[in-house]
């Protein structure tokens, strides 16, 4: 195991954890509004998966996408500024928490209609194949998404047309307040892959390294054979569905059980066991990350609001600043 890589994975997860905690605080202080779906507890999935991808591979995600955005960009400033609704945000303050975009870094959005982005991911992969480019698309979504028509249609087409895409279901056992067993007629989400058909794996999403390996296999399958995969990563969100959800539908024991599997703590243990860093070193990293997040908050706070004169920008091509269309 490469020490640098391991510490990088650890740091990326920590960055997400602290970012979300500070975002939560800023929300309660009234600096952020709208919906806020925190990624706390699921960091192993985004970081493990995205660490296995190339920077040129595309990412399509949901409204719970802060983690994926940070794993790809390591840019908490543009993320925090977006949450603050500032012109310097990654979507220029237009998107908010649920709609982070960064075309240049191939982050193709947070999307807030459950399932709606799954065919989009297949479409991005379609374009890669069309242009004979080697890029693969990673599509993230939750367990609750596996019942949506758009999910099924997206996977159907990806299989039919052999599209280079990796579908990653983050199975955190709940869709809002609804436990998975109440809505899913099969045990594992990944069994859904059988009917399309496509390759499938069910893995421990709280182990970033296991995620990295599994998604790595799926990426190779996509890149080399042009075939999609459905990866189901079992994980847990430590917070409610969104900031306004006290999550009373889950027992304390259940939460405690999953907190013992905290992807960050368990990775720290592994790092110690392997002798790749000691507590002081991780502590130092922690301070660094906190400083970075504090700077992001300062950046967001000091950034200008979008100019009201630009309200009508970005509705049609040609209004507002031109952005490069169609990839890169």
């Amino acid at each position: 195991m490469d020490r640098g890589l391991l510490l990088e994975i650890y740091r990326d997860m920590l960055l997400i954890r602290r970012f979300e905690e500070v975002a939560h605080r800023c929300y309660t202080e009234g600096l952020i509004s709208g919906f806020l779906h925190l990624y706390t507890g699921q960091e192993g999935v985004a970081v493990g998966a995205i660490s296995a991808a190339r920077p040129t591979d595309y990412i399509v995600a949901t409204y719970r996408e802060h983690g994926h955005y940070l794993a790809r960009t390591r840019d908490p400033k543009s993320a925090m500024a977006e949450l603050f609704g500032r012109a310097s945000g990654c979507s220029k303050g237009r998107g908010g928490s649920m709609h982070f975009f960064d075309l240049a870094r191939r982050f193709m959005g947070g999307h807030a209609i459950v399932g709606g982005h799954v065919p989009l991911a297949a479409g991005v992969a379609f374009a890669s194949k069309y242009r004979a480019e080697p890029d693969v698309t990673l599509c993230f979504f939750g367990d609750g998404t596996a019942n949506m028509g758009a999910f099924h249609e997206g996977l159907c087409l990806a299989s039919l047309w052999k599209l280079p895409v990796v579908f990653i279901c983050e199975n955190n056992l709940y869709a809002m307040g609804t436990p998975l067993y109440k809505t899913l007629a099969v045990e594992d989400v990944s069994t859904r892959a059988l009917g399309y058909p496509m390759a499938r794996e069910t893995i421990n999403g709280d182990d970033a390294l296991e995620v990295r390996e599994s998604v790595g296999r799926a990426l190779r399958r996509a890149r080399e054979e042009g075939l999609p995969t459905l990866v189901e990563a079992k994980t847990y969100r430590f917070r409610g569905h969104s900031i306004s959800d006290p999550a009373k539908y889950r027992s304390k024991e259940e939460l405690e059980f999953w907190k013992k599997r905290d992807p960050i703590l368990t990775l720290a243990e592994r790092i110690y066991t392997l002798g790749m860093a000691d507590e002081a070193q991780l502590k130092e990293m922690e301070l660094e990350v906190r400083r970075e997040i504090d700077e992001a908050v300062e950046f967001a706070r000091n950034s200008p609001l979008p100019d009201e004169k630009t309200l009508h920008d970005y509705v049609y091509a040609g209004s507002g600043e031109e952005t490069a269309g169609g990839g890169t």
Binding site: F35, M148, P306, H312
Partner: protein
């Protein structure tokens, strides 16, 4: 009279109708065990059990279709969309099935079904969660569209919608759920298709529905102070529209302002403006005015959202234009 919240009024309407008619059932995401995403259906699972309060997976197209299918053979479903934004996932079911089955079957099929949930924006929910869907549904023959502004109307109209023999799209508002108002203890219904004159007046007519009624209320004291006597009308049902009520008012006041939360292009207000110019042209002293949202998907940033929405200032400006001031 007792005061209850808009959400409680809706719950009473559903509970009373379910107690009254075994064929009525409720279906949607988080309506049961979670007690409703906005707590509208609180306690209903306990009252009626899992057979009649059905929690669904996230599958709007599927469960809207199941509702329609069950109504084809005599059940009377209430289908809750967590918000009307998600009804767009079921758009095909509403437009191609619910609205058309009766005509396509030559009248053999009757479809007593209610699709309900909150429409419009709330606070900085972004482009996919802040839209008014009523024009989509009002456009479509075969559907009825209801949008109550008060707890009293919410209850009386929802009861009528449940008893109606047609598909009804019943659009509530997230920001009104906690709003309290007088609701009679005793049983009552309010007929669909009948507007209410909320405030009689003689200088101009203001037509607004749902949340926009409450915006108009904020403007009235200042108008009164300035000696402007506005007549305020709440159509309450947008399809079928109470055309007579609006026309009678405009024939009296000669000036019309429509305030709506939706986009301007092809909005419900555009249809009302057409109606009035067609049927009361000679009575008009000024072009019909509309206050709408700006013609842009809703941006997240607080200042942009504010700029995009109808506001007190925009209503005043429109009134001034109407009065030639």
């Amino acid at each position: 009279m007792r005061q209850i919240a808009y959400r409680e009024a809706l719950r009473e309407a559903m509970s009373e109708e379910m107690a009254r008619d075994e064929r009525v059932y409720l279906m949607g995401e988080e309506v049961g065990a979670y007690q409703g995403a906005y707590k509208v259906t609180q306690g209903m699972l306990e009252q009626f059990g899992e057979k009649r309060v059905v929690d669904t997976p996230i599958a709007e197209c599927g469960f809207a279709g199941v509702g329609i299918g069950s109504a084809m053979v005599g059940l009377r479903p209430i289908i809750e969309f967590m918000t009307l934004n998600f009804s767009l996932v079921a758009f095909d079911q509403l437009i191609n099935n619910a609205a058309k089955l009766r005509l396509m079957s030559g009248g053999q099929i009757t479809l007593p079904i209610v699709f309900r949930g909150p429409g419009g924006g709330a606070h900085q929910l972004g482009a996919q969660h802040s839209q008014c869907t009523e024009p989509f549904y009002c456009y479509t023959p075969g559907l009825k569209v209801v949008m109550p502004a008060t707890p009293r109307d919410a209850k009386g109209l929802l009861k009528s919608a449940i008893r109606d023999e047609n598909p009804v799209v019943f659009i509530e508002s997230e920001v009104l759920y906690g709003f309290k108002g007088e609701v009679p203890e005793e049983e009552y219904t309010i007929p669909l298709g009948v507007a209410e004159v909320v405030r009689p007046g003689k200088d101009l007519t203001i037509v607004a529905w749902s949340k926009m009624q409450h915006l108009v209320k904020l403007v009235l004291p200042e108008l009164e102070k300035q000696g402007i006597d506005a007549e305020v009308i709440d159509p309450r049902t947008l399809r079928p529209l109470d055309e007579d009520a609006i026309l009678a008012s405009v024939r009296k006041t000669s000036r019309l302002l429509i305030v709506e939360e939706g986009w301007p292009y092809g909005g419900v207000g555009a249809q009302i403006a057409y109606l009035v110019q067609r049927n009361a042209f000679d009575y008009l002293d000024a072009p019909v005015e509309r206050v709408t949202s700006e013609d842009v998907p809703m941006p997240y940033a607080a200042n942009l959202e504010k700029a995009a929405l109808p506001s007190v200032e925009k209503v005043f400006a429109a009134v001034n234009r109407l009065l030639g001031r």
